[in-house]
């Protein structure tokens, strides 16, 4: 972003832009300081993202060379921003890579009231359960772990302990005064964490096939899964807290 693009924005618009970029600026700043802060964070962010992406994605971006920089207003479409939530009790999970799944959820206002009133709920948590190996069917819960979440959380990235297995995530509420008791509010779809190592069948390949794999560039793919990498169970995502 260049200065001349920011110059046409009002101070309020600059503050709004700063907010969008994650800057928490104190009120009453002089215009040049606001512009400088925005430029700095955008430049850093843009460079970080550029460096973090593959060649194909870089080239893909080249298609979009004539990008507008200011806000874009359409004459057809939305008047207000999209709702943050749909006031329903649900949870959905999406596999992102071998280590992380993205989960988003919601609890309907009526269910929250019911939990607070009738059941004296003592907090929400996610139960992440392994339900079987990759590529197989069946629904038998094997190992699981729980992640406490705040009432106003709506989404998290969840660290999956193992790749190449199927998981399911339950959105649960603890029952107040009843130690260990909880209620499953919603159950997610199944998530398959992809393998990051060669299939077991690779160990029985003949020497010719091993050589072909090496010629194909597969030598950097391990035969065994990497050990558990990230000790954190969750990572915050960009947006998605309940409005209240």
């Amino acid at each position: 972003m260049r200065t001349d693009k920011l110059d046409i924005l009002t101070l309020d618009e600059l503050y709004a832009l700063a907010d969008k970029t994650g800057l928490d600026l104190p009120p009453g700043l002089e215009r040049p300081f606001v512009v400088e802060e925005i430029l700095e964070v955008l430049e850093e962010d843009s460079e970080d993202r550029r460096e973090a992406q593959g060649e194909e994605v870089h080239i893909d971006e080249k298609k979009y060379s004539g990008l507008r920089i200011g806000d874009f207003d359409a004459d057809i479409g939305l008047g207000d921003s999209l709702a943050t939530r749909y006031n329903e009790t649900m949870i959905r999970a999406i596999a992102r890579d071998p280590s992380w799944a993205f989960a988003y959820w919601d609890v309907a206002d009526a269910d929250i009231e019911m939990l607070r009133g009738d059941e004296g709920a003592a907090g929400l948590f996610l139960r992440v359960a392994e339900i079987g190996p990759h590529g197989e069917h069946g629904d038998s819960q094997r190992e699981y772990f729980d992640i406490p979440i705040a009432d106003n959380d709506l989404q998290w990235y969840i660290n999956l302990p193992r790749s190449g297995v199927r998981f399911r995530i339950d959105l649960c509420a603890r029952r107040g005064g009843q130690a260990g008791k909880f209620r499953v509010l919603a159950r997610s779809n199944e998530v398959e964490s992809p393998r990051q190592s060669l299939a077991a069948s690779a160990e029985t390949l003949d020497p010719s096939s091993c050589e072909l794999l090496a010629l194909s560039g597969a030598e950097d793919i391990p035969l065994d899964d990497a050990p558990e990498g990230n000790p954190l169970r969750i990572l915050p995502s960009g947006r998605g807290n309940r409005a209240d």
Partner: protein, 528 residues
Amino acid sequence: MKAAYLALVLNAHMPFVRRPEYPRFLEERWLYEAISETYLPLLRVFRSLEADAVPFHLTLSVSPTLAAMLGDKTLCERYVEYLDSQLRLAEAEEVRVGMDPAFGPLAGMYRALYAADKEDFLELYGRDILSALDFFYKKGRVELMTSSATHAFLPIFRDCREAVTSQVETAIIAHRKAFGKHPAGFWLPQLGWYPGVADVLRSYNVQYTVVTTRGAMLGEPTPRFGSFAPVECPSGLVAFIRDAGATKAVWSESTGYPADPVYRDFYRDIGFDLPAEYLDAHLENPGERIFTGFKYWSVTGRTEDKRPYDPAAAKTRAVQHAGRFLAERKTSAAAAAGLMDRPPLMVCPFDAELFGHWWFEGPAFLEALFRQVASAGGLGLTTLGDYLKDFPDNQKSVPEFSSWGDGGFAEVWLDGSNDWIYRHVAKAVERMSELAERFPDESGLRERILDQAAREVLLAMCSDWALLMRAGKSASFARRQVEEPIANFGRIYDMLCSNTVSTEWLTRLEKRDNLFPSINYRMFRRKR
């Protein structure tokens, strides 16, 4: 039979950026630049090869949104206006730098480029690039594939079956309408594969697709020929495997061919070098600093002190790089050939716009490659469909979830900058399915409303906007491209629930988001 085969696969795609309600719309220039620098130059390469009776074979995916825009009268009109504007700028440039021995000829080169584009577009193709591609399709030189309707990254929607099937079904219908044939191949946007997508594609009679090397190597069982032969999924879908070595030589921004110092520099453009007053007088978007397409400098190196671009030297280098590329493929094929019971196949998938738009000399590279393959012998060019006819039996294996984005999975399209999209899109798909179930046999106005609702849901699934949000480029615009169709869908949903219709608004929306005229909202009915 050849000793080895090379299959070039190009993915031509642009997101739907048609905005007729604006007199000029900046993002439409993406399309015009791609037509001018990639699609028309590629067609010139095909014609040149045909004129010299050089056999060439290429697999080309034309995305449904690109096909919709290439066939749109308004955009074709505007493209001619764009060319006229570029020609006026070229004339002004010839006046400005005409006497300069280095830059004068370059201004003339751009005038000749845009003049050739205009003549080809108007006189030769009658504004119909799709028919020009179809000509080579029917001749068997170019095999056309389709891709997701709006370039959706399908692994993210794997648990929303209607989201995936609607993308595939709409794409296939659009392809048949544009080219009169059922597509045998399906380009997965970003090479985004997940195991279940094979069943979906096969259920629509798609025969093949392309996957990443890593996705295939992580498959079960491990492909015994590595990336030198495709694998077949249990459903019968064949997955061709990208040749990692071949593609890196062309893709890499830092070490690939396009980074050669003699090639034209993409970034140095008069749109950012010259005074605003001069540019404002010649461009359609006064006040906007944009890439004009007029670039006078060579890559040179990591320096601001660039050397003037020398087209003759660059073309010579493109021919040399084609020779090097071919020699390396032959070496690779020779190493693999003795280890296989069939000729090795090397599949090289690229974005089409890499050739010409980003890598200005890319079309010259391709032409030289085709000519050298034809004259050298040993290595044969093939399309993916032709290869399957010759080698229908392939190892059974299922590739792993994968993409060609950074990290190899879904990291690019699912991170803190863009993950908010999926709650809304999944809800829209769910509600669209609900509408399709509630109104299975509508006609007249209500059918129009439902069809438009289906278009809006598809538009919201476009992966390009998530990519731009993550890249931090024009995030506000990209965000709007998702929010708008979601909001439009929400308005339609509310209309149908309350049985009130704003026909004026609907008609305006239909005129703007006019892609997929044969869309059938019933494809969102839940599959039983």
